[in-house]
């Protein structure tokens, strides 16, 4: 299979029904994408496929053939959202953070608090109580 991963063409070998999550972590070696619940409830494994946020635990690897996949690594080390999450202490244990940040990148410029709350409703955080996350997203988008 062949797809664009963070702007670079990759050709990992994986069974077609393998979870995209596992292909990213095991075949592609990008462990920034976390497994939380493994059933689409928590959003920890969120990645972008052609710009849309999806749970990579629910995507058959074969379906990204020819698509563009963005993981947290693809945002680089100097992304405004990453800085805002650090500044506002929007991350504690950090497991939900890559998914939170990737989903936040899809909310458009200057989203309202209501839009942020609804947009991030599929990303669960068990540490922060969300308020610091919302502040970070408001600050950086």
């Amino acid at each position: 299979m062949r797809f664009l991963l963070n702007g670079v063409e990759v050709t990992p070998e994986a069974p077609p029904m393998a979870r995209l999550l596992d292909v990213l972590r095991e075949q592609c070696g990008l462990t920034g994408t976390k497994e939380g619940c493994g059933e689409g409830e928590c959003g920890a494994c969120t990645v972008l496929i052609d710009g849309e946020a999806v749970c990579s635990c629910l995507v058959p690897a074969a379906q990204v053939e020819g698509a563009e996949v963005t993981t947290i690594e693809g945002l680089g080390d100097d992304h405004p959202l990453a800085h805002a999450f650090m500044d506002e202490v929007g991350a504690q244990c950090g497991i939900c953070t890559p998914g939170m940040i990737l989903t936040a990148t899809t909310l458009g410029p200057r989203p309202s608090l209501a839009r942020i709350r609804e947009g991030l409703a599929g990303n669960l955080c068990r540490c922060t109580g969300y308020e610091a996350i919302y502040r970070a997203v408001r600050k950086a988008t």
């Binding site: 393998a18 979870r19 689409g40 058959p60």
Partner: protein, 277 residues
């Protein structure tokens, strides 16, 4: 994850006719699109079947169009597409409302209307909407196409009239006369499966459909008849007899019964022509 994925086959047709040919096989593969239900079973190790049919790339099945007064929604239209569609917002706003409350963004980007119908969970969020709208399920096979009224589609718990060689290709919705209403009651707004979900239409002949209160989504003819007479109290009594909720992991039969009656009253108050501007 409790399934060995290397043992599974995924067939990837490029066109609908290729897909239908593969489905006509003696042992038809299991259709799969956004996989948001299927991969939950994959993770749990309860997935049935070992051959799957990937429909995700069949673009023509994503279209949402108006033909005459009929809204036609391709089976592969995602919840995100339903939320964005002007046709859906204008002609079937209760479906926009339902799509908005399915899962979170990630699920809405992948889950499809056809998949919600095919999965056939009694808790499926869009199903009361389709029941109240008197939608039609368009099934296609190599032998041709047939249209099944939504009220005749399910035959039991997760069972339907769809033959293994048939694919749901579209949902058609005739014009709906009256004020549309939708409400889902769950543990939280997003990512929760409903305890009770209701769709209603307040027009010349009121219509009501509920999910999570019986083995399939249900219409409530006796309740509707009482409402048509303007008798809300008789409607509430009929409703309690027309639903058959159970105790399960998400709720209890008693709670569901109570909430269903409350929703009926809320529907009637919210859609009261005297108080609506």
């Amino acid at each position: 994850m409790r399934t060995a994925v290397s043992t599974l086959t995924l067939l990837r047709p490029r066109t609908l006719s290729q897909a239908l040919r593969l489905l006509a096989d003696e042992e038809p593969p299991v259709p799969l699109a956004g996989a948001t239900d299927l991969y939950v079973a994959l993770n749990a190790g309860t997935l049935e079947g070992s051959r799957f049919l990937d429909l995700w790339s069949l673009g023509p099945l994503r279209r949402i169009t108006m033909r005459g007064g009929t809204l036609s929604i391709g089976a592969l239209a995602t919840y995100t597409a339903l939320r964005k569609s002007r046709h859906v917002r204008r002609h079937l706003p209760m479906l926009s409302a339902a799509a908005r409350e399915v899962g979170g963004l990630q699920i809405q980007n992948r889950g499809t209307l056809g998949g919600n119908v095919a999965n056939g969970s009694p808790a499926g969020d869009t199903l009361p909407v389709l029941a109240a709208a008197e939608a039609v399920v368009v099934l296609r096979s190599r032998a041709g196409e047939r249209r099944v009224p939504f009220g005749a589609y399910y035959t039991g718990y997760r069972e339907s009239v769809r033959r293994p060689d048939e694919l749901i290709v579209a949902i058609e919705v005739p014009p709906v006369e009256g004020v549309q209403w939708f409400r889902k009651v769950g543990t939280r707004a997003a990512q929760a499966i409903s305890k009770v979900v209701m769709a209603g239409v307040r027009g010349p002949a009121p219509r009501l459909a509920l999910g999570s209160v019986a083995p399939t989504v249900v219409r409530l003819p006796r309740t509707e008849a009482a409402l048509a007479r303007g008798d809300l109290e008789a409607g509430a009594r009929a409703l309690a007899e027309e639903i058959h909720p159970i105790d399960d992991v998400r709720s209890t039969a008693d709670y569901r019964r109570g909430v269903a009656v409350n929703l009926l009253r809320r529907f009637w108050a919210d859609t009261d022509p005297a108080t609506r501007r």
